[in-house]
Symmetry: C2
Subunit: 248 residues, 2 copies
DNA sequence: TCCCGCTTTTTGGTCTAATCATATTACTTT
DNA sequence: AAAGTAATATGATTAGACCAAAAAGCGGGA
């Protein structure tokens, strides 16, 4: 068992570095496959921890580790108590948005990139909303819209309703993936953007006008118009944001 | 300790349901804050598990659970052995793309929605690539492009290089978030799309022509042209995909 | 008969205390 | 000095116990 000899042999034969997977990872992979293949459907439960221990041959810690992985991934929800257990569920939008937010925060993504992202996605969402919206969704947008128009000097309220307005439009697009993306980038944008770019009365008035125009296009089910007006609205916002130095 | 009495009191006073957070979640939140606030920088290590046990007062299981959460989130990487530990890192693009893929698979997102997503994002990436690309990135794209043009009847090879081509364009955009999004949706698309829509020689020839045109626009650093040509290319692809019934 | 209240049972959550595996460091020997 | 060997710090894994929550079962009384 000479280590040098072993190393030489390894180099000579060209053994690739062997990665030793963790027991919990292997079990997590298997359980994930079970879920994704549809063997266990949403609402149903995985076997109890103690069952998994006996069937897998692993210890309870490893089993719990595996379950914890799936929980973070949003594939299961665990509840204590009898008839509790690991209940399979479809990951919600937050399971997508959360990692994205972590990514944005960790990499200190510039506001510029976030707005870029928004500019790419939101006009599209507006166009889809124009063609795909239901009556309930439209009513929801209108309700938020009216409240938004009614805001005056309460900046926090203005920002909150502005955000809600955009998210309501997004939800009407019926594209779950793009909605999740919007949700993910909205929070960082509205945190990073600060209050300065909406301080003047004029800017807020223009935003309200733009919202009205976009909503009108959506009500008329005119996707091209909604797309262009949203793009113009965001362009104006970006121009304002750009003239203001970053707070960081 | 009459339970009925307690319940009535609770209803009367209007006590909100109290959520009992798990110990590991609390610790995970704290450690995550430490990382995101920059108190522990990428490359540095968190305290060892045994240290965390003594400072937090929790058991080793809970501490390990917390660390496992952060690991799944891509915030740390753990390595065994002396001078191992939980090393802080920035989440990579995979940490964003993976949850998105799980979301797509779990919700059985239609190919239509995925292509929509792509249509929203990729023309934008092409435009940004036109203005932001470096010489190395352009050389990389060209290398893949040449290999792509050289493919003939090997469909697997064609599809692989096609995917790589699109991702290379995306990388040149320098928008990390949109790159991650592209990576995330590319795999499901190319899995779901099957082989049928690229079976005819004519379709492949047109795709090659379109790639050439897009690349040309990028080399000329003309963002509008790159945007429009990419949109047209994707539109053509979607038309083809739409004429073919889903494989599911 | 039906409902309240107690007990039982199942399940996840937490803790303790070892032991194993791995990789680095420190030491010893040649 | 270089090479080999022992000590050590770290995560990975196991085992077993007990706690807490929540549902199910049971029994007595209105």
């Amino acid at each position: 068992m000479n280590s040098k000899l072993g190393s030489d042999l390894g180099d000579a034969v060209g053994i690739a570095p062997i990665s030793v997977p963790k027991a919990s990872d292997i079990l997590a992979d298997r359980l994930r496959d079970l879920i994704l293949s549809g063997s266990v459907k949403p609402g149903e439960s995985l076997p109890s921890e103690r069952d998994l221990v006996s069937t897998s041959g692993l210890s309870r810690s490893s089993v719990r580790d595996a379950l914890r992985i799936l929980e973070v991934e949003g594939l299961i929800a665990t509840r204590p108590g009898r008839s509790g257990g690991s209940i399979v569920q479809r990951p919600d939008r937050q399971s997508v948005a959360r990692p994205m937010e972590l990514f944005v925060k960790s990499h200190e993504i510039h506001l510029e990139s976030l707005l870029d992202c928004r500019l790419a996605v939101e006009p599209f969402l507006a166009a889809r909303a124009a063609t795909h919206h239901t009556d309930e969704e439209l009513a929801d947008i209108r309700r938020i819209h009216e409240k938004f128009l009614a805001t005056t000097d309460n900046l926090a309220e203005y920002k909150k309703l502005n955000l809600e307005w955009h998210l309501a439009i997004a939800r009407s697009s019926h594209n779950e993936l793009l909605i999740a993306l919007m949700e993910a980038i909205s929070h960082p944008i509205h945190e990073a953007a600060g209050y300065r770019e909406v301080t003047t009365e004029q800017i807020r008035a223009e935003a309200k006008k733009a919202h009205c125009a976009i909503l009108e296009a959506i009500e008329e089910r005119n996707p091209e118009l909604a797309h262009n007006r949203m793009a113009k609205h965001l362009g104006a916002y970006m121009d304002v944001a750009r003239t203001i130095p970053n707070s960081e």
